[in-house]
Structure formats: C-alpha cells, structure tokens
C-alpha cells in the first residue's frame, strides 16, 4: 500500500511523520503546479470550488508517480468539502485511473467508522499505540504551526529581505527528523532560536493586517499565490485566522491561532448568528476581533463559488463600515492571475498606509512631541 494525500501547506510533512511511525509507505504528490491545476480542471465539475480541482490534480500526479491508495478527509456538511472524496472517486474512476480510496470520516460521522479507518492506516497497532503516535505527531505539527505563526508576524521586521524565509525552511528541516518527545522538545528550541536570531528592526513602522477566509486557499501557498510571503516582504505583519493543526484538531480552543470557537461566534453574532459551514462564521468573527485589536486592515481569500465564504463576503461590508476597518476580498479560481491579485493588493496596502499616516498625524496633533517622528515614519511607509 503506497498512500498519498493532497497537498495543503505543510500537510505532507505531517503525514510523512505519521506514516513513518505507523510503518506505511507514503508518497507525497509532486508540488502543486500549473500542470496540477490543469489536470484537475480537466476532470472536475465546472463550478466546483478550486480545492476540489487542485486536489484531483494532486491525486492524478501522485498516481502517476506510483501511489496506489488515495487518502482523503470526509465530512458531515453543510460545506460540500465533506462530499469531495466521493466526487474525486467518481471522476477519477471515470477517467480510467485504478486506485484504492480511504476516506477518513470525522468522529462526528461515528466513532466506530473513524477507528476502523485509522486502524487500516496503522496496521498491527493497538488503539493505545495509535493514540500515542497521534499525540506525539500532533505535538510536532503544532510546533511547525507555531513557527509559521512567528514567521507571519515577524517577517516584516527583518533587516535583510529573505532572511526569515530562509530561516523558516531551516527550522522546519530541524523539526522534521525529530521522533521522540525529547527530540522534538530539543529541536523546537533550536528551531525557534534560528528564527529569533534573524536580525530584526523592531522600531520599524509596519502595517498589521489580518488574513481570513477559506482554509484550503489560506493554507496552500499555490492557490493564494504565496501572498503571505509577498506581504511580509512589503513590510506587513500578518495574523491568520486558521492554522493547519487548528483546522484538523477536534479541539475548539484553536491553540495555535489563540482564539476559541465560542469567542469567534460571540464576536460574529450581531452580523451572522449561526454557523454556515466551512469558514463562513470564522471569517466574520475574526474580522471583528481583528478590528477590535486595532489591526490596520483585513484580507479575505476564498475560492469562487465557496458557499460559506460568499455569505461572509456579503456580510463583511457592514462590518467594515461599523468598525471602520478596510477589508478586501479575493475570490480565486483557475482563471485568477497573480498579477491581478498583486496589483489590487498593493493598492490596498497603499490605502492602509495612507490611512495610518493620517490617523497618526491626527493623534500627533495632540502630542506635539511625537509629531516629527511619526511624520517621518509615515513617509517611510
């Protein structure tokens, strides 16, 4: 059995670790590319969302490179992601591919089914052993997410452009081979040290922006044109509404991102009073929380025809007005070009910078002493 999974950010690193522990051969698909998307689009239904098209492309390329078992997550709705495994199976069989498919349904669809599926993926292991494997593997994944969070926040402050990105890659590679709990602890310390020792200019004025939206597009750099790195290089410090382990884990506390589901729902309540599947509610809730935290702006990213985030997009203009925070939404599909996104993004960042400059100036009128310094910092932006 040579198992493969679709790409979604660092997901392949997590599975590489998990399957090394359970003793199953794992083949990560080739890195998502224009060809991946092209293959996916050829076999996908026309107005299914981008994640389906990209993951079908991943599966095809993985089958080409020797995988024979496709592992996909299931779901119980109402977002259509929960039905994607069925559709993938249907269209890939139609296209003539031969494979096995394992669908990991969430425990909400029944614990027995969940445990039975997990047991296939960890042959010969007891439930206790599996639980131990998941625990340690998950801890490692969480540390990787913490590293990413640090990178998003501090890339804007680096003195030499590109240092943080390089350090992040090095840090991930230090964590990757760590297996036991002690090794992980040690590797984590080393990894954070590498990131912390990147030279930073913490006095530099930076814009603070929140990123919200649909998880796949947020987590997979190919589909979001790696705008996080681009923004970081522009001098924008980022907060993001979802991290990989927050999305996978059954906990509603969201340890990495740091805001619990109930806080999100509470914040969103006046505007969206019920979950609508996917990230519809979190997109609204996070935007409000970010506005209250005083962030300069919010970027929403989601695939074209995504139902939950389309609802959020319809509601966000109200939030923007009421909380006086600029919001820009990017709707992404296979036709979207990087240049178009970057142009709009740059215009948005310019707008945020001039707003901030204006705000700072008004504030400075009250505090004469700061005036000159703030004016200079505004000009630097």
């Amino acid at each position: 059995m040579r198992v493969t999974t679709p790409h979604m950010g660092k997901l392949d690193r997590i599975f590489l670790d998990l399957f090394a522990r359970t003793g199953i051969e794992y083949i990560a698909p080739p890195k998502t590319s224009a060809r991946t998307l092209q293959l996916g689009v050829r076999y996908s239904p026309e107005f299914a969302c981008l994640p389906l098209k990209v993951t079908i492309g991943n599966f095809i390329e993985a089958l080409e490179s020797g995988a024979d078992t496709l592992l996909m997550a299931g779901g119980v709705g109402p977002c259509r992601f929960g039905y994607y495994a069925e559709i993938q199976k249907c269209v890939l069989e139609e296209a003539g591919y031969k494979f096995n498919m394992i669908v990991l349904e969430p425990p909400a669809a029944g614990w027995k089914l969940f445990i039975d599926t997990v047991k296939i993926l960890a042959p010969g292991k007891s439930i206790y052993q599996i639980w131990q494997i998941i625990k340690v593997s998950f801890r490692k994944a969480r540390i990787m997410d913490e590293l990413e969070k640090y990178v998003l926040k501090y890339r804007a402050y680096e003195v030499n452009r590109g240092d943080t990105t390089k350090a992040y890659k090095k840090a991930l590679d230090i964590i990757q081979p760590a297996m036991t709990n002690e090794e992980i602890t040690q590797a984590a310390e080393e990894a954070f040290l590498i990131l912390e020792s990147v030279e930073k200019d913490m006095d530099r004025p930076v814009l603070k922006v929140g990123i919200v939206g649909e998880f796949f597009v947020l987590l997979e750099p190919f589909t979001n044109f790696d705008i996080e790195e681009y923004l970081g290089n522009m001098g924008v410090s980022l907060e993001r509404s979802v991290y990989l382990t927050d999305w996978i884990s059954p906990s509603s506390k969201n340890p990495v991102m740091g805001i619990s589901d109930s806080e999100i729902a509470k914040a969103a309540k006046p505007y969206l009073n019920h979950f609508v599947g996917g990230e519809g509610l979190p997109s609204v809730g996070h935007t409000i929380i970010y506005a209250k935290e005083g962030l300069d702006g919010v970027i929403q990213l989601f695939p074209f025809t995504c139902m939950p985030d389309t609802i959020a997009k319809s509601i966000l203009p109200q939030v923007s007005r009421d909380f006086d925070i600029p919001i820009i939404s990017f709707v992404i599909d296979e036709q979207t070009g990087r240049a178009g996104i970057i142009t709009r993004l740059e215009a948005f960042i310019d707008l945020l910078a001039s707003r901030k400059k204006h705000k700072d100036r008004l504030q400075a009128l009250g505090h004469g002493a700061h005036r000159r310094e703030l004016a200079r910092s505004g000009a630097a932006l």
Partner: protein, 319 residues
C-alpha cells in the same frame, strides 16, 4: 402584535408557503406575498447582491425589496435542518443575516429557527419562542402551528397528485398535463417552478406535447430510498430529493428523458451534477440533460437545446 408580514415568493416559498401562511395567520398576522418574479425583481436583486451568490438568492433579495414598503415585517426563517442528520443549503443557514446585510433599508426581519437536528423539543421551543412575538397564549400558538401543518399536508397531497405549486397556490386546479412524451424535470423547486428563472421551461415543454413530472409527484419515502443508493449518504435534505427523483426515474424508466435544471455557482448542484450524469451514462437508459442557468441565460439557447433533446427522445422511441 398584529402586523402585516411579507413572505417573498422565492426559495423555500415553493416548499413551505401553506405552512408559513397558516401559522402566521393563526397568530393574527396579515400575510402578504410578493408577485411572481419579473425582470424588475431580478434587476433589483442582482443590484444589491454579492456577485458570487447564486441566482435564486439574488432573486430572493429582489422579492424582499418588492415587499419592503408594503409590510411591517419580513418573514425570513432560518431553516437549518428538516430531517435528522442533514442540513439544508449553507445559504439558508445564513439567510436572515444575508437579508439584513442587504444595502437597502428593509422592515424588521422575523427569523424563526427550524432545526430538527437539536431534537423535537428544541424544534417546538423555537416555534413557541417565535409565536410569543404575536401572542402570549401558548394554546393560540399551538393552534396556529397546527393549522399551518394541516394546510401543508393538504398542499403536499395536491402536489403528489401532479399539480404544480404555483397552480395550487393561485387556486388553479387543472388536471395534470397529458402528452405523448414524458419528461422528468429535476432540480430545486425554486428553479423548477419559478417560470422566470427557467425561462418558462415547464410551459414550453407542455406546449411541445410533453407530459412533465417533478420531484413533488414522488412520495418522500421513495425519494429517500433512491437517494440512499449512493455510496455515501448526502447530508443535504433538498439535494437528496433531487437525486432521489432522478434516480427513481432512471430506475423505473417511467420517463423518456430527464432535464436537470441547476443554477450556476450552486455549491450542491455542482456535485449533484456529477452524480446524476455518471449514473445516467453508466447505468441507465434514460437520457439526461443538464441546463445551467443564471441571470444571463438566453431564451434562444435554451429553446434550441431543449428542442434538440426532445427530438432525440422522440427519435429514440421510434427506433
């Protein structure tokens, strides 16, 4: 509270209007509905709606705008779940919030919850909570609900006999259509029965000598059983009905062909289309044609395709 309450003639209107009307009237409200969808409604709706929303939701906004000056409140229930372990469409889960976000001044929006997932007790509690807006008498609320339920039962009986929703609701009770070719029209009721959305497809089919069947004419038990034949059960109720109807027609071969109407950008329809087309191709002798519609659909294109489809069916039945 005695008030005029508006019910837009869109989305779930085609499914639950008698229930809602009976309930609201029983509570002492005066019920006003919007008229059939027109170009003006569509334009008003698309002007205020987010571009990526599906046409039926845009039209829903148009109907809200049509009603806004005529009523004290608008009835936009949050229909979350109508069956165990299923949801409706995500957009229905957020419909009252979407309506409030429309950039037009609307009257108060009444949004009772219908959520059977939380159990019968919570389901009825939500109904009583809503009824309290009108009257403090629990007995009166219960009576109002029951009169709605009775009206709904009668409505569903008439639907089963082959009458179309708009005919029943406007009091026309013609005998079901006769024709020399049988066409099953699958799709969400708000697409199948709104003549503006589907460019008057049903009437056209009838005028071309076709006898038209829709999902409402099939008992719910049969729909459920047929949809249950999918390898993984669907977690959306209304889509189960669409799939169930199409599978039923394919299974029994009771129609000569199936036309499946779907709206562009509909999340569920994008997947259901794959399921129906695969089944039609692999395991069925009943031809299926998908018609994707949005606000830019043109009549000429639709007529050409449907005529060709019917010609093909006629030719098949001769050979």
């Amino acid at each position: 509270m005695s008030a005029t309450v508006g019910i837009p003639q869109a989305l779930l209107y085609y499914k639950y209007y008698p229930l809602w009307e009976g309930f609201l009237k029983g509570l002492g409200a005066e019920v006003v509905t919007s008229n059939v969808t027109t170009k003006r409604v569509v334009n008003a709706g698309t002007a205020v709606a987010e571009n990526e929303l599906c046409l039926p939701v845009k039209i829903f906004f148009g109907h809200l705008i049509e009603l806004k000056d005529k009523v004290d409140a608008l009835f936009v229930p949050r229909v979350i779940s109508v069956e165990k372990d299923t949801y409706t469409c995500p957009k229905f889960l957020g419909l009252p919030d979407l309506a409030r976000a429309v950039d037009v001044k609307l009257p108060k929006i009444l949004d009772p919850y219908f959520n059977i997932r939380l159990g019968r007790r919570r389901y009825y509690e939500a109904i009583f909570d809503f009824g309290k807006l009108f009257t403090s008498s629990k007995y009166k609320i219960w009576r109002a609900w029951q009169s709605g339920v009775r009206a709904q039962r009668l409505y569903q009986k008439k639907l089963l006999s082959g009458l179309s929703p708009l005919d029943i609701l406007s009091g026309i009770e013609d005998a079901p259509s006769k024709g020399n070719i049988k066409i099953g029209v699958a799709g969400h009721p708000y697409n199948v029965h709104d003549p503006y959305i589907n460019l008057n497809l049903i009437k056209k089919l009838k005028s071309w000598g076709a006898q038209v069947f829709t999902e409402e004419m099939i008992p719910h038990k049969v729909l459920d059983r047929e949809a249950g034949k999918l390898p993984k059960r669907l977690f959306w109720s209304y889509e189960k009905e669409v799939v169930g109807a199409a599978f039923h027609w394919m299974q029994t071969k009771s129609v000569d062909g199936i036309i499946y109407i779907l709206s562009f950008a509909c999340g569920q329809d994008s997947l259901i289309q794959v399921l129906l087309e695969t089944k039609a191709k692999k395991q069925s002798d009943v031809p299926l044609m998908s018609l994707v519609i949005d606000e830019h659909s043109g009549e000429a294109g639709l007529v050409t395709r449907v005529e060709a489809f019917i010609d093909m069916l006629r030719w098949r039945s001769i050979s």
